[in-house]
Structure formats: C-alpha cells, structure tokens
Symmetry: none
Subunit: 121 residues, 2 copies
DNA sequence: AAGCATCGCTTGGTATACTTAGCGGGAATC
DNA sequence: GATTCCCGCTAAGTATACCAAGCGATGCTT
C-alpha cells in the first residue's frame, strides 16, 4: 500500500532541494528557519516522507516562496481556478473568503447570511 | 500541549460542519464522498484532530468549495499573499453592491455586518 | 411492541509524520 | 596528526493522523 502509483511528493522534495541550494542554504539552516528537524527535512527532500501542510507552509515561508506555489507543486491545490466565474453571486462568496481581515467564524456568518438572502429570493 | 491557546483547526471544523449541514449531508455521506472514515470526520469537525492537507482537499472537493478556501480557513495559506487568482481586486463591499440578487435593504445589512467585523479588528 | 435503518460518537488499533541522539566524512585551524 | 566545525544521513523513539468495529439514541415501518 502507501503507493498509489502517483508520486507527487518526490517532485516536491526535489523542488525544495533545488530551491534550498539556489538560496545557498544548508539543510540545517533551512530546517532551523522552517522550524523542523534537519533529518526530517532531509527525508522530505528525498521523497521518503510526505510533509503535512503546515510544514509545507513553513518551508515555503523560509524559502520566501509562496505557499500557493508549494501546494501546487505538492498537487494539493485543485487545478480549478476560482477565477472570474460568470455568476454574479459567486463573486460575493469568493470576495468574502478572500478577505484576510475576517476570521473563520466571521466568514461563516457572513456567508450564511448572504446565502440565506439569496436562497430566499 | 493539549491546549496551545491558538487552535485554528477548531474553526476549520466548525466551518466544515456548517458547510456540511448547509448542504444537507450526513456525516457518513460526506465522509464517504471525501474518502475518509466517518468517525474521523466527526473528530475533525469537533476540532479534536488536525487534518492533513490532502484530507482537507478531499473534503473541500466533496463540499464543492475550492481547496484554496479550505486552506485559508485552516490558516495554511499566508493571508498576505497576493491573490494570484485572475482579475483585479474585488472587495467584499463592491461585490455585495454589484449583486443583483440582493435588495437594497439586504445589501445594507450585509455591509453593516461586514464593516462591523472589519472595524473591530 | 418488535424490527430495521441511519444518525453521531467512542473505543482501540495501525500507519506515518516528526523529533532527539548520534554516525561518518570533508574542510579549515592548530 | 589531532581538533574542532559543519555537512548530510541513519536509527530509534514519540506523537498523532487516520481507520474498522461497535454502541446508544432516534425515527420509520410492519
């Protein structure tokens, strides 16, 4: 088991290692900044382990590349782009979700209120 | 480490549960579509466990919301990132005003709630 | 009432993400 | 040569993500 044929984490590891060497950082240096242990980073880079999302995010931050890029490399982002979908109601939802100033609960509340309005129409 | 004060996973769980109930899905139904076990989904929704990224992605897909939204809810995407999604900046306020499905009164309500949230930050 | 289906949840276990300690090797400095 | 110091890696352990089985409650049907 543990093998579904597709091995996206291997490429993530290679990607990380490439970025790290491009930044002239040692394993321990990057691991330290990313707040993970250096052996673990080593294993990640060689595709032995599949890092969790927050580890991925920390590595991305330490490498100064966007978390989105990281997730895309890891195949964790659906290729679906939430771009300008034709609908008018979609944009309110995505605008709410994209607003960094709102907490999770606040977004939830706003969305519920909004959907309540729309569905009742 | 039982409580580190900050647990964004709790809000993720509440968000998922809200979305699930909004879609009128049972725990088992959603778990089945998301390809995880139903007890685990239950524990995720109650904030007992912190789901890994691919589980999050599967749940998002099952709920028909974007993986990005899910990660944002989970605090896994840096909120300061440039919203790489297409189009220009569409604020919540302008999106609400542009929505033809909402009455003027409803727009007012939504805007008031939204501004209350933002200004309190 | 008895029976069956489905609800959410608890229990107990397995798989794996992640850490601390330590190894062998190569480049300085003495 | 010996002594650090850094490199990447291995080994062994702990923590936790995740699953299968099953329980009590609720509701529907006979």
């Amino acid at each position: 088991m543990a093998n579904d044929g597709n091995d996206p984490w291997r490429s993530v590891g290679e990607f990380i290692r490439a970025q790290r060497e491009l930044a002239n950082l040692s394993l321990r240096q990057l691991a330290d900044v990313a707040k993970i242990s250096n052996p673990y980073l080593s294993q990640i880079e060689r595709g032995i382990h599949k890092p969790s999302a927050d580890v991925l995010k920390n590595i991305a931050a330490a490498l100064q590349i966007s978390a989105e890029t990281m997730y895309a490399q890891a195949g964790l982002l659906d290729p679906r782009e939430p771009g300008a979908e034709g609908g008018g109601e979609r944009s309110v939802e995505s605008a709410i979700r994209a607003d960094a100033r709102l907490s999770a609960e606040q977004k939830e509340t706003l969305l519920r209120v909004y959907r309540g309005f729309v569905e009742r129409a």
